[in-house]
C-alpha cells in the first residue's frame, strides 16, 4: 500500500488502528456500492483527511475528544458539512464519533483506498527521481509497470535529491531501485569484499616489507 505523502506518518503507524480501519473501510465501501456512489464517497473521505483536517486543527481535537458530548459533535458536523457532504458521508462521520473511533479516520482512508484499488485490480506506484520528470517519462514507467504487474497502475512522482540520479519505483512493499546512490553503495560493498578476499588469498601482494 502506498500512502499519500500528506497523510504518511510511518513512524507513528499503529497496526491496531489499521486493523480497525480495515473494518470501517469495508463497511463504507459496502454502503457506497449499495447506493451506487462508491467513488464520490471515497473522494469525500480522502478530501476530509487531506484537505480539511490538517487545516482546521481544532476540528480533529473536538471530534476525538471523549469529553464533548455526542449531540454537540453532531451539531458541529451538521454545521460544517451539511451543505457540502452527502448524507451517507455525514452519517458515517457521526457513527465514527458515536463509536469513539474518529482517531482512526486516517487509517480508514488508507484502508479504503487500498481495498478500492484491489477491487479495481489497480495499484499505486511512486516514482522517485532526483529531478522533476515530465509526463512522458511517467507514462513510460506506467506502461512498463502495467505490463510487468498485469494490472492498472497509477504513478505518482516525487523528487528526492538524495538519490543523486536514476530512479526508484515503489509498488506496495516492492522497491525497484535503480538509483545512483544505491549503485554506488553496491560498488563500494563489492569492492571492499573483493579486496578483502584478495588480501586474504595472498597477503604478500599487498604488503611492502
Amino acid at each position: 500500500m502506498t500512502m499519500d505523502p500528506k497523510t504518511e506518518l510511518p513512524t507513528v503507524f499503529d497496526s491496531e488502528q489499521q486493523h480497525i480501519g480495515n473494518v470501517y473501510a469495508k463497511a463504507l465501501i459496502g454502503v457506497g456500492q449499495a447506493r451506487g456512489k462508491l467513488e464520490s464517497l471515497l473522494e469525500e473521505l480522502h478530501s476530509l483527511v487531506v484537505d480539511v483536517l490538517p487545516k482546521v486543527q481544532n476540528l480533529r481535537s473536538v471530534l476525538e475528544s471523549p469529553r464533548i458530548s455526542l449531540p454537540a459533535k453532531s451539531a458541529v458536523l451538521d454545521k460544517a458539512f451539511r451543505a457540502k457532504a452527502s448524507p451517507e458521508f455525514l452519517n458515517f462521520l457521526k457513527l465514527l464519533c458515536h463509536k469513539h473511533r474518529f482517531d482512526c479516520v486516517d487509517a480508514i482512508d488508507r484502508a479504503a483506498k487500498k481495498l478500492f484499488n484491489e477491487m479495481r485490480n489497480r495499484d499505486e506506484a511512486v516514482l522517485i527521481t532526483a529531478f522533476e520528470v515530465d509526463d512522458e517519462i511517467r507514462q513510460r514507467v506506467r506502461q512498463q509497470l502495467e505490463k510487468m504487474l498485469q494490472k492498472e497502475v497509477e504513478v505518482r512522482s516525487e523528487v528526492d535529491e538524495a538519490i543523486v540520479g536514476g530512479f526508484i519505483v515503489k509498488v506496495g512493499d516492492t522497491v525497484f531501485d535503480g538509483s545512483l546512490v544505491n549503485q554506488l553503495q553496491q560498488v563500494r560493498r563489492v569492492a571492499v569484499e573483493k579486496t578483502n578476499l584478495e588480501i586474504r588469498k595472498s597477503i604478500d601482494r599487498f604488503v611492502t616489507p
Partner: protein, 510 residues
C-alpha cells in the same frame, strides 16, 4: 609491514570496471517497534517464515511471526542500533553458517563470526541452520561405540555413534565435566567435536576453552559460544548452528560429537522470544512448541546408512534440574526425546562418588548394541548389581547383623563404587576399563582395603602397561570377539594371571 595502496587501488579499479549495474529489486518493510531482541515490522508482505531480513547497518534478522498486519522478527545482532521507522529488506534466503574444516579448532558465535582473535574464517561452504533431519530410509541403527573414557558411563550406559544421551542433574554435579571428558577422549578416534555453550557465564566457557586447549582437544573441537549476555535470539539458534556445522562432516562420512550445554537455557531463551512475540504461554510459561524446538534439534543426531557414507552425529544434551526435579516440563520433554540419560545426583557428588552417576535410573536405550563386546561381557550385570547394592547398603545402615553372604556382597559393592570413581580430565582407554572392571566384579579386589582401591587401580594399570603389555595387547586384539573376557577365553586367563602376579606385590597401606 606496510600495506601498499597502489595494489589495493588496482583491485578496486578492476572491480569498478567489471561492475554491471542492475536494477535492485527488493521487498521492504518499516520497523514499527523494536526492543529486547525483537522487532515488529510493517510491510514485507511476501516474506516467508524463517527468512532472513536485513536491517540498516547489515544487522540480520529472522522472520519469526507472520501476522495479519505485521511481521515479528528476531534480531541476530545489536538491536540497540535499530530505530523505529527504519527500512527492513527481505533477503530471500534462509539463515546459514560457514561449515567445513576451517571452523575446527575455532571459537565462534552462532553466526560463524570468530571470537578467538585468530582471524576470519575462510570457509567456502555454508549450510542452512535449520534443516529437516534425515528420514528413516537414510538411517541405520546405532552400531559403533563412542567411547567417553569414563568407566561408569562406558560400562553401564554405553553410548553409540548416532545416539542422543542426555546428561541431567542439579547445578554443580559435574554435568559439563562428563561432556568435556568425552570430548578429550576423542583425541585419536577422528571424531570431530562441537561444544555449544548456551546462556552460560562467559567465565565458565573461558575455563572450558582453556582446558580443551591445554589438553590438545581444541585441535578437533569447535566451540560455539552464545553466553548469558548475548541476546535471546542468538542463544536460541546456537544449538541449530552447531548441528549444521556437524552435519557437514556427517554427510561426508565422518563422525561427530555435539555437546549442547545446556538446553534448559535454550528453552528459556525461546520462551523469552515467544512471550515477547505474544505467543500464548503454556505450562511453566513455555510456548506450546517448545517440545518441537528440542525434538527437531535432537532428531538431527543421526547414524547415516552405509549408502550415504555411514557418518554420524552423537549428541550429549545437558539439562539442569532444580532440586532434583526431573518431572518439570523441559526435563521430561528431553528425557522422552533422547535415547537414555545419565542422571547425576548431588548427594553422591558430595560423598565423593565422582562422576556422581545414579546407576539405578541412568539408562542407555540403544547403546548396548554398540558396546564393545568385551565390555558387554564384563559389565553386563554391573548396573543392576550396583543398584541392588545401594538398596542393601541402606538396609545395612539399620545396624542389623548380616549373614556372611550379604556381608560379602556389601564388601564387593563398596569396592566397585570405589573402582568406578574417576578423576576429572583423566579419560581411560576401553581396554583398561574392561580389565579393571573384570577384576573388580570377579573378586580380585576383595582383599584390598576399600581406601586403597584407587591406588590399587593406578598401580595395577601402570604395572600392566610397563610389565605385562602382552596381556593388554591380547585383550585389545580380542575386544570385539563375542567370547572375549567370558568363560574360559584366553583373555580371561591372561588377565587373571597378571592380576594374581600383581596382587602378590601390592602392599595395603595400614
Amino acid at each position: 609491514m606496510k600495506f601498499s595502496a597502489d595494489e589495493i587501488a588496482s583491485v578496486i579499479q578492476q572491480e569498478i570496471l567489471q561492475y554491471e549495474s542492475e536494477i535492485d529489486v527488493r521487498e521492504v518493510g518499516t520497523v514499527l517497534e523494536v526492543g529486547d531482541g525483537i522487532a515488529r515490522v510493517h510491510g514485507l508482505t511476501g516474506v516467508a517464515a524463517g527468512e532472513m531480513v536485513e536491517f540498516p547497518g547489515g544487522i540480520i534478522g529472522l522472520a519469526f511471526n507472520l501476522e495479519e498486519n505485521s511481521v515479528g522478527t528476531i534480531i541476530l545482532g545489536d538491536y540497540l542500533k535499530i530505530n523505529e521507522g527504519d527500512q527492513v529488506k527481505a533477503l530471500k534466503q534462509l539463515l546459514s553458517v560457514p561449515v567445513g574444516k576451517e571452523v575446527i579448532g575455532r571459537v565462534i558465535d552462532p553466526l560463524g563470526n570468530p571470537l578467538d582473535g585468530k582471524g576470519p574464517i575462510n570457509a567456502t561452504k555454508r549450510r542452512p541452520v535449520e534443516v529437516i533431519a534425515a528420514g528413516v530410509a537414510e538411517r541405520q541403527p546405532v552400531s559403533e561405540p563412542l567411547q567417553t573414557g569414563i568407566k561408569a558411563v562406558d560400562a553401564m550406559t554405553p553410548i553409540g555413534r548416532g545416539q542422543r544421551e542426555l546428561i541431567i542433574g542439579d547445578r554443580k554435579t559435574g554435568k559439563t565435566a562428563i561432556a568435556i571428558d568425552a570430548i578429550m577422549n576423542q583425541k585419536d578416534s577422528g571424531v570431530k567435536c562441537f561444544y555449544v555453550a548456551v546462556g552460560q557465564k562467559d567465565s565458565s566457557v573461558a575455563g572450558v576453552i582453556k582446558i580443551l586447549q591445554e589438553s590438545g582437544a581444541l585441535e578437533y573441537t569447535t566451540v560455539i559460544v552464545s553466553g548469558a549476555s548475548s541476546p535471546a535470539p542468538l542463544q536460541y539458534i546456537a544449538p541449530y548452528s552447531g548441528t549444521a556445522m556437524a552435519e557437514e562432516f556427517m554427510w561426508n562420512g565422518e563422525h561427530c560429537l555435539v555437546v549442547y550445554d545446556d538446553l534448559s537455557k535454550q528453552a528459556v531463551a525461546y520462551r523469552e522470544l515467544s512471550l515477547l512475540m505474544r505467543r500464548p504461554p503454556g505450562r511453566e510459561a513455555y510456548p506450546g512448541d517448545v517440545f518441537y524446538c528440542h525434538s527437531r534439534l535432537l532428531e538431527r543426531s543421526v547414524k547415516l546408512s552405509k549408502e550415504l557414507g555411514g557418518g554420524s552425529i552423537t549428541s550429549l544434551p545437558i539439562i539442569e534440574t532444580l532440586e532434583g526435579e526431573v518431572s518439570a516440563y523441559i526435563p521430561t520433554n528431553v528425557i522422552s526425546i533422547t535415547d537414555g540419560q545419565i542422571y547425576l545426583q548431588p548427594d553422591l557428588f558430595f560423598k565423593g562418588v565422582r562422576p556422581a552417576m545414579n546407576a539405578g535410573i541412568s539408562v542407555s536405550r540403544v547403546g548396548g548394541a554398540a558396546q564393545v563386546r568385551a565390555m558387554r561381557n564384563v559389565a553386563g550385570g554391573l548396573r543392576l548389581d550396583l543398584a541392588s547394592f545401594r538398596e542393601l547398603e541402606a538396609f545395612a545402615q539399620l545396624g542389623t547383623d548380616l549373614d556372611a553372604a550379604t556381608q560379602s556382597k556389601l564388601d564387593r559393592g563398596y569396592r566397585m563404587v570405589e573402582l568406578l570413581k574417576q578423576k576429572q580430565y583423566k579419560p581411560l582407554n576401553v581396554v583398561d576399563q574392561v580389565i579393571v572392571i573384570y577384576l573388580g566384579t570377579n573378586g580380585f579386589l576383595d582383599q584390598v582395603p576399600v581406601g586403597d582401591v584407587q591406588r590399587w587401580e593406578a598401580e595395577f594399570l601402570s604395572f600392566l602397561h610397563d610389565k605385562r603389555k602382552d596381556v593388554w595387547n591380547l585383550v585389545n586384539q580380542h575386544k570385539a570377539d563375542s567370547a572375549a573376557m567370558k568363560g574360559s577365553h584366553e583373555t580371561v586367563k591372561a588377565v587373571r594371571d597378571a592380576a594374581t602376579e600383581f596382587n602378590k606385590s601390592f602392599k595395603a597401606s595400614s
